[in-house]
């Protein structure tokens, strides 16, 4: 049985497009990446899965159950981490975690205690006094404490410092090993590349590519920005080159050793290597979103 099965799902907000004819299958036990730029339809897809909004066409199933008819049964087995976290003001973290557990008619004190320790969250604080990162940690524990079979995470790492991000993905990997299916939505390519086994790319409301991380590895491009002068010469794998006498900027997909050798011959004051924007990746690998793997 698939953890998530989406067939021909379409959602419009009035006349505005949300998603169009999305097909997606996430097998049970997968660590699945759902990647796309902001506004592509990631959250719309997730909100439809959770029954917060209703699709215009098509249908979605989680563990073989219909997302509209069996909403409560599904939600009992799902943990959800929203991209924007808001809690009831005036409550302490401890009370909020308890509220979440009792809405599920569960006693999750043991696991939530362990998670709070690992993520270093003080449960006596009031939720409105929490920093953005701590609020997110609270939301993470709400999503994890009842040990769901499926975790749906919408941009989970924004606001978390790198150490906490590592701890968070460590927890996710442990859960995944224990059999939890993880559906990770993100616009950060490296996050998906480093953690997921399968992924799908969404753009302008449609899925434009899907497959294993290996199949999608063609997206391992880097945006290279060099201050100084360098002659790229015959370097293979350079795209989108913008060059001025003091600055060279390009997207690179070739061999790293070749790049370093070429750069070492130049006169360089500074260099930055960054993940390209998703839009760039889509632009260069999938044309205007028409291609498919």
């Amino acid at each position: 049985m698939n953890a998530i099965q989406i067939d021909d799902l379409t959602k419009y907000y009035g006349k505005t497009r949300g998603i169009e004819h999305i097909d997606l299958t996430v097998p049970q036990g997968d660590f699945f990446g759902f990647i796309g730029p902001n506004g592509a339809g990631k959250s719309t897809t997730i909100r439809t899965l959770l029954g917060l909004i209703r699709q215009n066409e098509g249908r979605a199933q989680i563990f073989g159950m219909d997302t509209i008819k069996d909403r409560e049964k599904i939600l009992a087995r799902v943990g959800y981490l929203p991209s924007e976290v808001s809690f009831y003001p005036g409550m302490r973290v401890r009370e909020l975690l308890k509220l979440s557990a009792s809405l599920r008619r569960r006693d999750c004190r043991k696991i939530s205690g362990l998670l709070c320790e690992r993520l270093q969250l003080d449960t006596t604080r009031k939720v409105e006094e929490l920093s953005f990162g701590n609020r997110r940690k609270t939301a993470i524990i709400c999503a994890l404490q009842h040990e769901p079979d499926l975790l749906i995470l919408d941009e989970p790492t924004s606001g978390l410092d790198p150490l906490m991000q590592r701890e968070f993905f460590e927890i996710l990997k442990e859960r995944n090993k224990e059999g939890t299916t993880i559906f990770l939505s993100s616009h950060i390519l490296s996050e998906i590349q480093h953690n997921c086994t399968q992924a799908a790319m969404i753009r302008n409301g449609t899925i434009i590519a899907r497959g294993s991380m290996a199949e999608l590895s063609g997206t391992g491009a880097k945006r290279i920005n060099v201050r100084g002068s360098v002659d790229l010469g015959a370097l293979i794998g350079v795209r989108d080159l913008h060059s001025t006498p003091e600055n060279v900027d390009f997207l690179y997909t070739g061999d790293m050793n070749d790049l370093l050798q070429t750069l070492s011959a130049g006169d360089i004051q500074d260099i930055t290597v960054t993940e390209p924007d998703l839009d760039e990746v889509f632009l260069h690998y999938y044309g205007q979103g028409s291609g498919r793997i």
Partner: protein, 261 residues
């Protein structure tokens, strides 16, 4: 019961402030009664000679010299307006505040049906209103005892009962409205409460506007009528209960298919 408990805890401060304010004002009014009682003859004449203004507040038919006559106007206005505002405000924000504060996503991604959310929230609303009325009634009776007057049980119960029904009706209607709102809603609640109050004043001034009593719940809360007839107007109340039921049904109908953005 989780949501009921949560709502009661969450709304505790607002509830206490409103209840304390209304009870406090009522008590002040009652304590003033022995003071003014002596001057009542002059006051009664004054209040009786203000034309339609007198009629609007039912003062042409009430005897200010008796505790219950005084209570029906003064305390009636305090409890009527205060209770109406509290019930409207609490009702109109009950469902919509989740979306306004962006907590709807948290609540509705737990395994609870929309019907259960609406039901438990409605229960919390009714519990708050019932508790408020009981507390206020208790303080009112206590104060009447403290100024050494006999408690006019039947009239007091009828008056307070009428205001309780009024609050339930407004709460039910506003609960319905709440399901259709997404943003701040306090204005709608206050506006509706105030409008109903003024509709009744208009209805009191002229017989041509008597039909308004079928619209506003203040129609069956008219102290002068209740004291004169010794019972509540069942026709107005039946219509009022119908409005409340329509409101609650609309809330369920809308909330179960509402899109949460």
């Amino acid at each position: 019961m989780t949501i009921v408990k949560h709502e009661l805890r969450h709304g505790k401060t607002t509830f206490l402030i409103w209840t304390a304010t209304i009870a406090f004002l009522l008590m002040i009014c009652i304590f003033l009664f022995p003071e003014i009682q002596g001057d009542m003859d002059a006051m009664g004449e004054l209040f009786g000679s203000m034309g339609s203004f007198t009629a609007a507040f039912g003062m042409d038919r009430l005897n200010f010299g008796t505790l219950i006559g005084f209570y029906a106007v003064e305390c009636g206005n305090i409890l009527g307006l205060g209770g109406a505002f509290f019930a409207s405000l609490a009702g109109v924000s009950m469902l919509s505040k989740e979306e306004k504060d962006k907590t709807a996503e948290f609540l509705l991604t737990h395994p609870v049906s929309r019907t259960r959310v609406a039901g438990e929230k409605l229960a919390a609303l009714l519990i708050q209103i019932a508790a408020m009325n009981l507390i206020i009634l208790a303080f009112s009776l206590l104060s009447i005892g403290m100024i050494g007057e006999d408690v006019p049980w039947k009239e007091i119960i009828l008056l307070h009962g009428a205001y309780f029904l009024l609050q339930l009706e407004l709460a039910g209607v506003c609960f319905g409205i709440s399901a259709f709102l997404r943003r701040g809603s306090a204005g709608v609640g206050i506006g509706l409460g105030a409008m109903m109050y003024f509709l009744n004043l208009i209805a009191n001034m002229t017989d041509h506007a008597k039909f308004l009593k079928y619209i506003t719940p203040f129609g069956y809360c008219e102290g002068a009528d209740i004291l004169a007839e010794g019972r509540l107007h069942t026709g107005y109340i039946a219509v009022g209960i119908m409005y409340a039921c329509i409101g609650i049904a609309a809330a369920y109908w809308r909330y179960t298919k509402k899109e949460i953005h």
